[in-house]
Symmetry: C2
Subunit: 414 residues, 2 copies
């Protein structure tokens, strides 16, 4: 982009935006510019009504009968299948369950079991910490015969050797937005006889995915970011069909039993993806998730991605145009082919700067140690808002507003 | 009870019932007699409003800021502490997390790690199946050096030997309602150097518990039964203070990290009970749980238990008085000291009989192979309803209504 950007240019982009009408499907607070849908997606207006129905009708009136009457018993399968369509999974390869962390444990354990004798879980140092933590916990539980080996993103492929059981990566990095070539890494893993476990937390609903074409083995993902499923929405997981008959998921709960309500004394895994279920799911949160997923399914993923790329490019250009001299560095890849739906800046004073932004109604987030993270959610974010957000940031830097004591206070959640 | 019971006697008991006013705090569908609060508790009226606030205000308006602003970040601790008061736990010994099944895996793994060299997990064949399944999965994951040994309830204490690492029992049996003497079994386990893992699914909010006095080591429990937390409500767990500094919980997620938002690359367990947290909790379901717990906390547990015992006694007496000759057997203990808050009948035709009852608005549940289960929830169940329920059952038996083809159809959830 060589033309100078101004608000009028961005307003024109909004006017021609084919996805513009989707904004009305969300509730968005007045006066807020929300660049944090990659942390917690905004609320689809229909979610409010759906949750009310689950509580006031299905729970209150239907009580236990709602398991059959309102299909609660199949909800994890149904929403899982819908998410499968968003990520290019085949039929019966995805299901909703537990949290992303718990699912990662399940999928990684399953992968290691399929590769006995291989010692290494390969990941990267800047992976989302809970993924590394869960791998550590699993390895400790297994007696310490495995090892978590961390390689930098550029070195991952060359680090895959015959001793690697599983390559465990987050497809889009939570901090930098850097995106792996899933097909390429998976192909490299398979050539060495290793399996892949992909974390799609920052990918599902944000970038086009084709897990089938990539030959992915296992994956997990998050419901409350780009899927707009509500705070702490249940997560999902994916197991390639070819592994489903042989895979052992270590959390063998009754929902994963071949016949849960026969109350057999011994575990018999369900056929297919259902064996990855564990306990009773949190129905109210689960129902809200479906509304978010349904909404994303209405949008052609290519149109969504196109707008996302353009928004990230515009934002990066605005940072360069408007914030020169304030010592921000763009740490996300400039090449969209390797970038998710976010742009991150580094700055030595990231913490108070982000607090000052939030105080003025521009919501992004701080990620330790020095990152300002801005996520783009094309379904409800306009181009002119990017101009306004960068304008507020410029004002904060010019005025020194970020140096106010109030903005130095650390909160529990950052 | 030797006096003949009739509806007038039971109406009088309702009139003198000190807990009677609590019924108005719940939503209960017209014309339904709900004897299944031990499967899914009824909805507290306040839950509807609370959920609406979480969705329409905290999520929709507050968005990511609600983690601090509305205390989402401490909700698992806060509700856990409240449940702790219901079960006689000390401060900081309980927390809300995941599902009962997942928590059982965590607690059993933690117990086994504290007893290296010991091989046996001791339980009973009629334990709730998911508990046995989770133990099987854990044992398989650990390489098969452990063994799940099952002893009948009367033989449990004598089966505890020096090779037992953990005694894993459900305090009140889901099918028969039989209740263990927690202090006695725990004392016996400790004498042999074993640890206890108690499942309180059918105890919490139903019977007085004193985990501290019993010397319990680990426990898990359910939010959606007697705590009225809503369908699939998050579960809770308990770790005795004395184990908290040394215990290793194998699902080492970021919410259990000493400093989750510093995004450190390696896991460092939080001090205390927080190390048992894993991933982001389902906030909407979690908020509903708190309403149910708050309501139970308003009631003196002794008063609740007294009514529960009386309701079970009345129900059993009514079965004997009104249903003689129809081949029902009462399989729950008649001595309340060994019975939870339910009475179960066996009958060769339990399935169609329960379907016929449900069709007439008397909701209990069928438990394979031949059990009709009736749960008593003193907060919202009246004595006269017991008369009416048994009356409907008598009508169904006398008329042969249960033999209708419609009642033979098996549903997914039973």
């Amino acid at each position: 982009m060589t033309t100078k950007l101004d608000r009028a240019v961005l307003e024109a982009m909004d006017e021609h935006d084919a996805l513009r009408s989707f904004r009305d499907r969300f509730h968005l607070p007045d006066g807020l510019i929300y660049l944090d849908g990659n942390s917690l997606g905004a609320m689809p207006k229909a979610a409010s009504e759906r949750v009310r129905h689950v509580v006031d009708v299905e729970w209150a009136q239907g009580l236990i009968r709602s398991w059959n009457q309102y299909g609660w018993i199949d909800l994890q399968q149904r929403i899982g299948a819908k998410i499968g369509r968003l990520i290019g999974a085949g039929e019966g390869e995805t299901i909703v369950a537990d949290s992303t962390s718990v699912n990662l444990f399940k999928m990684l354990a399953a992968a290691l079991k399929l590769r006995p004798g291989r010692r290494i879980v390969l990941s990267e140092p800047a992976n989302f910490p809970t993924d590394l933590y869960m791998a550590e916990g699993l390895i400790a539980l297994l007696g310490g015969e495995h090892e978590l080996v961390l390689a930098e993103p550029d070195d991952i492929e060359s680090a895959i050797n015959e001793d690697v059981a599983a390559v465990m990566l987050t497809h889009v990095n939570y901090r930098t937005g850097r995106m792996y070539d899933m097909a390429k890494v998976t192909e490299r893993a398979h050539r060495a006889g290793a399996l892949t476990v992909w974390d799609l937390a920052h990918s599902a609903g944000a970038v086009p995915l084709d897990l089938a074409a990539a030959g992915a083995d296992f994956a997990v993902g998050c419901g409350y970011k780009y899927l707009n499923g509500g705070p702490g929405a249940p997560a999902f997981l994916y197991i390639a069909k070819r592994h489903q008959d042989t895979v052992a998921v270590p959390l063998t709960g009754w929902f994963g039993h071949a016949d849960p309500f026969s109350f057999e004394p011994s575990y018999r895994p369900a056929t297919g993806i259902e064996r990855a279920l564990v306990g009773t799911p949190p129905l109210i949160s689960l129902a809200a998730l479906e509304v978010g997923v349904d909404l994303v399914l209405e949008v052609p993923m290519n149109a969504l991605r196109e707008k996302s790329v353009r928004q990230a490019d515009v934002f990066a250009a605005l940072v360069e145009q408007e914030l020169a001299g304030f010592d921000f560095a763009i740490v996300s890849p400039r090449d969209a082919a390797y970038r998710g739906s976010q742009v991150c800046l580094s700055h030595t004073e990231s913490w108070p700067i982000m607090q000052a932004l939030i105080a003025r109604g521009v919501i992004g987030d701080f990620r330790a140690p020095d990152i300002l993270r801005f996520g783009f959610t094309p379904l409800y974010l306009g181009y002119a808002e990017l101009w306004d957000a960068v304008g507020v940031l410029r004002h904060i830097m010019e005025s020194g507003e970020w140096e106010q004591p109030a903005h130095q206070v650390r909160l529990k959640v950052t």
